[in-house]
Subunit: 196 residues, 2 copies
C-alpha cells in the first residue's frame, strides 16, 4: 500500500504556511505558489492535498478557529468564578504570539470574505459560540440575574473583550498589557456585584 503519511498533520503544515504568508505579506499574497514555497514543497504536492485555493483557505480558517476553541476549552476550572472567568478572558486576548497571530489571521480572513463567501459562515459560527461563552460566564458570575439582564451583560462583556483584543493588536506584543487585564478584571468584578 501507499506511503502512509498523517494526512491531518500534512494539512496543518500547509495551513500554518498560509498563516505565515498572511502575517508576513498580507492576505493578497496568499497563492498556491507562495504557500507551497513557504512550506518548502512543490506546487503539485500542495495541490495533491488541496486541489484548489478555496479549499486551502477554508481549511486554514477552520483550523485556526479550532485551535482557538481548543485553547478556551482546555482552560482548567477554578473555584472562584471571577478568577475562572478572567482565565478564560485572558485566553481570548492576543497576549501571546499564537493567539495574536490567530486574531490577525481572523481579521485578514474577514477582510477577504467578500471573495470567499464560505468563510462568512465560519466566522458567524465562531461569533455565536463566543457570545454563548460570554453568556455562560455572566451566568456563573451573577447567578441571581434574570435571563434578559444576563444577555445584556454578556453582550457588553463580549464587546469589551473584542475591543480590548483589537487594541492589544495595535501595539507591539512586548508592550505592557496590564491595562487590558485591569479593564477586564474590573468588568468581571462589576458583573459579579450587580444586583439585577
Amino acid at each position: 500500500m501507499p506511503k502512509r503519511i498523517d494526512r491531518d498533520a500534512r494539512k496543518a503544515q500547509f495551513a500554518e504556511a498560509v498563516w505565515r504568508i498572511i502575517l508576513d505579506r498580507g492576505i493578497s499574497a496568499v497563492s498556491i505558489r507562495t504557500v507551497a514555497e513557504q512550506a518548502s514543497v512543490a506546487v503539485g504536492s500542495l495541490r495533491h492535498v488541496f486541489p484548489t485555493r478555496a479549499e486551502l483557505l477554508r481549511f486554514s480558517a477552520e483550523l485556526m478557529l479550532q485551535r482557538a476553541r481548543d485553547r478556551i476549552l482546555s482552560t482548567e476550572a477554578l473555584e472562584d468564578p471571577e478568577q475562572y472567568a478572567l482565565e478564560i478572558a485572558k485566553n481570548l486576548l492576543p497576549l501571546h504570539p499564537d493567539s495574536r497571530a490567530e486574531l490577525e489571521i481572523n481579521i485578514a480572513l474577514i477582510a477577504e470574505s467578500p471573495a470567499l463567501p464560505e468563510l462568512v459562515q465560519l466566522r458567524d459560527d465562531a461569533y455565536q459560540q463566543l457570545g454563548q461563552l460570554c453568556v455562560r460566564l455572566v451566568g456563573i458570575l451573577a447567578e441571581k440575574l434574570g435571563e434578559q439582564d444576563v444577555r445584556e451583560e454578556a453582550r457588553r462583556l463580549h464587546a469589551l473583550i473584542d475591543g480590548v483584543a483589537l487594541h492589544l493588536l495595535m501595539r507591539p506584543l512586548a508592550e505592557d498589557a496590564d491595562w487590558a487585564i485591569r479593564i477586564i478584571r474590573g468588568e468581571l468584578h462589576r458583573i459579579a456585584h450587580t444586583s439585577g
Copy 2:
C-alpha cells in the same frame, strides 16, 4: 490652458471606486484595472492621476480616515455632556451605510498592511486621535477625575466603542441596533457618576 477639472474630486471618485471593490470583492480584487472599470474610465486615465497602485491605495485610505474625522468634528456641541458624548459615539459606530463601509474598508486595509507598510502609520495616527477624543469625552463627563483615572476610563471607553462597532458589523445593518446604543449610553452614564 488645459481642461480644468477639479483634481481632488477626481481623486475622490477613484478612491470611492476602490472602496466599492473592497466592499464587493475583497481587498485582493483591487487592481488598477478593476478600479478603472468600476469608475467607468480607461486604465490610462486612472494612471494619469495615480501612477502606481500603492499611491491609489494610500490616498483611498487617507480619504476614508478624513471623512470619518470630518463626521466626528461636525458633531454639534450639546449642553448635556452625556448627550453630547453619545452623539459623538454614535458617529463612531457603523450605524449608517457610510460609516459601516468606512469600518469595513478600515479592516480590509489593516489586513493588507503587511503588504502596504505606509498604511500602518495612517492607522496608528487614527488610533491615537480616537484615543485622545475618548480622553476628552471622559474629561467632560467626569470633571473631578484625576489624570490617571481619566486615562484608564478613556481606554475602557475606547475599547468598548470599538468592540461594539465590530459586533454591529457582524450583523446586517437592518437588524435592531438599540442594544449598541444602550451599552454605550450606560457606559457614559457610569463614567459621569464615578467619583475618583
